[in-house]
Symmetry: C2
Subunit: 434 residues, 2 copies
């Protein structure tokens, strides 16, 4: 008696909201982008660190209810409860690692390109999993470190072939002078900064209005005067000096003169950046040709890195590049050369008796570093094999059957150019090496 | 009145059990290993696919309670409940992607190197997060595809510089003949296979004993006869033919003759591999010099890839390399060249007036592809700077002060060799390029 197969319940092949896959064409371009970033980081003397994706919830939130809101808790399906969560950035796991390894040689220069997760309530078009490329210098309070981070970011964007970008710079030490200068209580600084930070949304008039509501018209006017470019002459605070020092160092690392540097590495006195842990430099990268994307990278100095763990103040400065946002921007700007495949050559299987020779031919090309696929589909017709190469956008197909073998030649079809030519069999490797 | 700072609650910088970080020396070696694997996959014509780490729980378990046991559920901290979980392998997310993208050109050859999580109850020495490197061919039922996967695995281990490894091969089609050959009911096949799979633990005598308990002595003897090498001559089943075909193709992709191939690509008739979804070839890679590590890679043919989603049978064959296990094995075997840093040169900052020239020097080396750090620590003494280079194991330090500048030379300290020499300043780039 045959055992009857039970009806299989069909499962919908959907992803949860806020998550996505990257098919090969995107995965190839993203990988290339991340390779460029990694090489740039390594060129400046940074080494990789691979931290755990999962951290104790308390480590992630640091007792801060706000960051608790954006995390994903995780729980083994046989566990009753769990105090573990997925990291929402790469900085907290770095801080944990530094606190846990007090003997690291300082400055500790590390980079990490890794996935982070945000468990926020899902919104239209917002993703909950993305990749960040972080570069940080831990254990140096020198302005050289701030400058190095700024120059790395500059070099990354240059190396990615992005023609037009701006690094906006500001310094919390300057913003910290605001209460004294404008005449309001230090306790109100964060409230004032939150208003200043909204310039993109409400404009300078809106800021003035909100500041007047919070303080007086005089204070509001003072604040706006402080933030205006003309105040640069009257202010010689530490933060401003630091901007100048970084800009000077910038000139040595690029072919730009100081005027050109000031256009690409701009002092932007309205720049606050949300995170309260910044203590000096803050910066963000904007792409003027894709303003709707917002900032694609940002960072700054945060000298309280491990305070919550050890009570010490360890100076640190770093930056984070949002891979997914930057990728979306580059896609929009057309600076990506997308391709469907990394495969350069497809060898067709036209004669079953020649299989061993096809395999050897493939191996010959692979040994020379040429990515080579041997056709291994189920439909072995010539048409199907060629259609496969076309659909996959593989640049070259190698056609070699009994006839070609007898004549000592091999036919090479350039699929993009739609042209075909014969070359001597012995020239095959030389042909593709060029 | 000064606002008093509230006492900060100290948080322990611990990782949850079963998770770990990889410090730079390990991260560098692991990255190199993954680069080699990726290049090998790409050389064979495979493209990257990046699937979401988070999947619907139902997609992951497929209604199978057993796989439900090993997953981590995730939940945004503001959500009441969640039906999402972290992937426990890279195969299920691939199956989902294939089912969701029916128009992919077939065969679809993709690789993915990614993190997976297992939410099992924590055990001594078992990790709950690890990286897998998967390579699969979807949409080809040809034995060429099985052979290609086997050869890729072979090439990966060769390229990683692992001298001694064995690929054990078996075929489910052969094992499926067992009930007819040995005279027991097909329904009992899985029970028999579960016993056979335990050879490493209980030996052939133990297997015989357990089989006798389940069946009769005659059946048990038949089963063992079926599994013995001498049965090869009497069996000419499909699975055995497939082993021979793959072995023959192996010869074309390597310098090995058939005898040598049979030693490294071994027919191992006791090999079952746990997963019930395999339908043909199964294999696993063992390192005879590190037997306690177990299999470091494995795979096979599973022609029911998307059945649970679409009801179709799409043929597929693939393999998965366990990066963490393999890394542990390589560490043990001493085949890893570990280094503390990728930085090749440290430029010391010895004179504050020369800062701009140090920056330019660093940039000169970087532009030539030499990973160069400029010392930017807080302790600027010569001793501290040199000690940093030594501790970080940076191969070379560049020493250049006012005195060297006047004489037009630069001193280069080889920190491993503990030797120092002077070269003309203009030769600096040439020196490191060599």
């Amino acid at each position: 008696m045959k055992k009857s197969t039970p009806a299989i319940k069909r499962i919908k092949p959907d992803l949860p909201g806020g998550f996505r896959d990257y098919a090969p064409a995107d995965a190839i371009a993203r990988q290339e982008m991340m390779d460029t970033i990694r090489k740039t980081f390594e060129g400046f003397g940074f080494d990789p660190l691979q931290t755990s994706s999962v951290q104790r919830t308390e480590v992630l939130t640091g007792g801060d209810a706000d960051s608790g809101k954006i995390i994903f808790n995780i729980k083994g399906s046989q566990e009753k409860k769990s105090d573990s969560s997925l990291r929402f950035d790469l900085t907290v796991p770095l801080a944990r690692f530094v606190a846990d390894n007090p003997d690291l040689p300082k400055p500790f220069k590390r980079y990490q390109i890794g996935t982070v997760w945000r468990g926020e309530r899902q919104q239209q078009g917002r993703y909950r999993e993305f990749i960040q490329a972080d570069v940080d210098i831990v254990g140096s309070s020198s302005i050289d470190a701030d400058a190095e981070i700024a120059m790395i970011i500059y070099t990354v964007f240059k190396n990615l072939g992005i023609g037009c970008f701006v690094i906006n710079y500001n310094n919390r030490k300057m913003l910290n002078m605001l209460p004294d200068f404008a005449g309001f209580s230090k306790n109100k600084l964060w409230d004032a900064l939150r208003i200043i930070d909204k310039r993109d949304k409400i404009g300078e008039d809106g800021i003035s209005e909100e500041l007047q509501k919070m303080f007086t018209k005089t204070v509001a006017d003072n604040i706006l005067r402080f933030l205006s470019p003309s105040s640069l002459d009257i202010l010689q605070g530490k933060g401003f000096t630091e901007y100048g020092e970084i800009a000077t160092m910038f000139c040595q690392n690029t072919e730009l003169d100081l005027d050109a540097v000031r256009k690409i590495f701009k002092l932007e006195r309205y720049l606050v950046r949300g995170l309260s842990y910044y203590t000096g430099s803050v910066f963000e990268v904007l792409l003027p040709d894709a303003p709707e994307i917002g900032s694609v990278a940002g960072g700054g100095r945060y000298d309280g890195l491990v305070t919550q763990f050890t009570g010490q103040n360890i100076p640190a400065v770093g930056a984070s590049i949002g891979i997914d946002r930057l990728y979306a921007a580059m896609e929009k700007l057309g600076t990506l050369k997308k391709k469907q495949t990394l495969t350069q050559v497809l060898i067709l299987q036209l004669d079953v008796n020649l299989k061993n020779e096809y395999l050897a031919m493939a191996q010959e090309l692979r040994n020379a570093g040429i990515a080579t696929a041997l056709y291994i589909g189920d439909d072995m017709s010539f048409q199907a094999q060629l259609a496969y190469a076309v659909k996959k956008e593989i640049p070259y197909a190698v056609i070699w059957g009994e006839r070609e073998k007898k004549r000592g030649v091999v036919a090479i079809k350039n699929l993009a150019g739609r042209e075909q030519k014969e070359i001597p069999r012995d020239d095959l490797l030389r042909y593709f090496r060029k």
